[in-house]
Assembly symmetry: C2
Homo-oligomer: 141 residues x 2
DNA sequence: ACTAGGAATGCGAATGATTTTCAGTATTAT
DNA sequence: ATAATACTGAAAATCATTCGCATTCCTAGT
């Protein structure tokens, strides 16, 4: 069967190879924000002959085709998620690395307004909040 | 004379060496967002015997001491700015790389609210908008 | 189906930013 | 001043990512 991302790739006219199919499947099934090594690890479970170089190449390809989005949580490696319709942002738990997604239409509106006031059209943007759980804070007292 | 950042370092009890003084001066005088190589280049004009390794070490030291802030505009190298009192964000011109700073108290309030709703206390956050000038858009028509 | 030809892959080497190692030097408290 | 300790320069080491090249795999054309 065809994974969600594979279908998207076909729509965009990308040549589909065995390894791209596997990587598309991995990314379709992911509900987190894996880095390249993690994608490779998961891909190897499906087909053990995929090289990390191919994963890097494919991630770049998919990013350029806007099928996935590259994220950066400041830890030195790129993370990825499916390029969604909904504009959301990330709250990163600095203790555990857990990532919570959220979205806020007010935020979007304010951003648009700020860009317009500065004379710009937004081509991309990102908001990340790094935080620690409130309940753990209490625990420390 | 003592540069603004050098004073800050002294306050924080950092040992002040010749090269740290030079780097502090460079950073105090900068009104842009230089990367490590650029800081090194400017430092060399003041004292030609400063090594890039020392610049890297000092930038990290100053970042940890919260004297400067590390930025990341997605081009693979770290940028820095003086850690300011005012919470501002960056709009990056994707055509020229120019960086415009802006701040918005509404944004701050919304972010705080979102974090609280998710059960977190903010320890850091960042918002970057990447855009192209509106007037250049018109020119293309 | 069958084949040509241009992509895609795998491997290892190359890159670019950053960190570390280590021997020598400078800084600060005494 | 002096000792103890931290800092520096230079080069080697790392880490994530990209590239070069020989081989293999798709896709279009027949």
């Amino acid at each position: 069967m065809i994974s969600r991302l594979e279908a998207l790739c076909l729509e965009k006219g990308l040549k589909m190879t065995g390894q791209r199919r596997v990587i598309s499947q991995v990314l379709s099934e992911a509900d987190d924000h894996p880095d390249v090594e993690e994608v490779h690890r998961r891909a190897l479970l499906i087909d053990p002959r995929i090289s990390i170089a191919t994963v890097y190449r494919t991630m770049r390809l998919l990013e350029e085709a806007q099928v996935i989005e590259r994220l950066d949580f400041g830890d030195g490696r790129a993370r990825y998620e499916e390029a969604g319709a909904d504009h959301h942002h990330h709250l990163i738990d600095t203790r555990t690395g857990r990532v919570i997604e959220f979205s806020c239409s007010e935020l979007e509106a304010i951003k648009e307004r700020i860009a317009r006031e500065l004379g710009y059209r937004i081509v991309a943007h990102r908001l990340e909040i790094y935080g620690v759980p409130l309940d753990e804070e209490e625990g420390k007292k």
